[in-house]
Amino acid sequence: MGHALKEIWRVLVPEGHLIDLRPLVGNSLIEVVSKGQVHYIGLVDETGDRPDTIAANAAVNQVVREGWFTRERKEVFKFAIYWDNIAEMKAYAKEKWTYSRLPEEVMAEAQQLMANSEAGVKIRVRYDMLIARYQKHFPTKKRF
C-alpha cells in the first residue's frame, strides 16, 4: 500500500488531490426492506477483513505523518447495496468478497422474513463508507 501511495503522489500535480473511498469494517448491516420498513437482521462477518483495513489506515497515516499528503477532509456515510433475493446476494458475496461472510443464522432469519413479506421486499447490506480528501505536499525530508 505504501508503494501505491508513492505512485499516486508521483502522478499527481503539485497540490493535486487524492480521494480515498472505501468501506470500513465492523458495522456492515444486513437489513430486509419492505414497504419502507427496515428490519435489521444482523451484521456481515468481516473479521477476515480487519487486517487489511488496519494496514490501509496505517499506510495512509504514515504518508500524512511524513508530510507527503495532508488530510483536508474526512467523512463517513452509509452506502447500501440491494438485492431482490437472498440467492442473488449470496452469489454476489461469493464472487466479490474475499474474506467477509454472511452468517448462516442471520441469512436463515432473513429468508424467513422475506418469505413472509409482501411483493417488492428487498435485502440490503449497508456499509459505513469512508471518504477522505488529501492534498499532495512536499515534505522537508524525502523518505520514499
Partner: protein, 98 residues
C-alpha cells in the same frame, strides 16, 4: 441478477461535495466495471479508469456511455507501478482499493 448500488445516490453526493472533479484530469484506481466512474466522469475534464481485473474492464469498455467516449479511457494497471508520467493528474480517486 438484480442488484442496485446506492440507489439513494448518497455516494454520488459525497463524491461531488468532497472531490474537486469539475474539469480536472482524473485517475480512478480500482474502477472495476465503471460503477463509480459513471457518477462523476461527465463533470471531469478527462478520466482514466484503471483496474487489475481484465474482465471487469471489458465490461466497463462495453458499457460506457457514448457521450464519454472522447474523455474517458480504461486501462489495466497496478497501483504500485502506474504507467503514467509524473505530474499527470489533478485528482486520483482510490475507489475501494486501498
Amino acid at each position: 441478477m438484480s442488484i442496485e448500488h446506492d440507489p439513494e445516490e448518497i455516494e454520488t453526493k459525497y463524491l461531488h461535495d468532497i472531490a474537486p472533479v469539475t474539469k480536472t484530469r482524473v485517475l480512478e484506481i480500482g474502477c472495476g466495471e465503471g460503477r463509480l466512474t459513471w457518477r462523476y466522469a461527465a463533470s471531469a475534464g478527462s478520466t482514466i479508469g484503471t483496474d487489475l481485473n481484465p474482465t471487469r474492464l471489458s465490461t466497463a469498455q462495453r458499457e460506457y456511455p457514448p457521450t464519454l467516449r472522447s474523455s474517458l479511457l480504461f486501462s489495466q494497471a497496478k497501483a504500485e507501478t502506474l504507467p503514467f508520467p509524473t505530474k499527470t493528474f489533478d485528482l486520483v480517486i482510490l475507489a475501494w482499493s486501498l
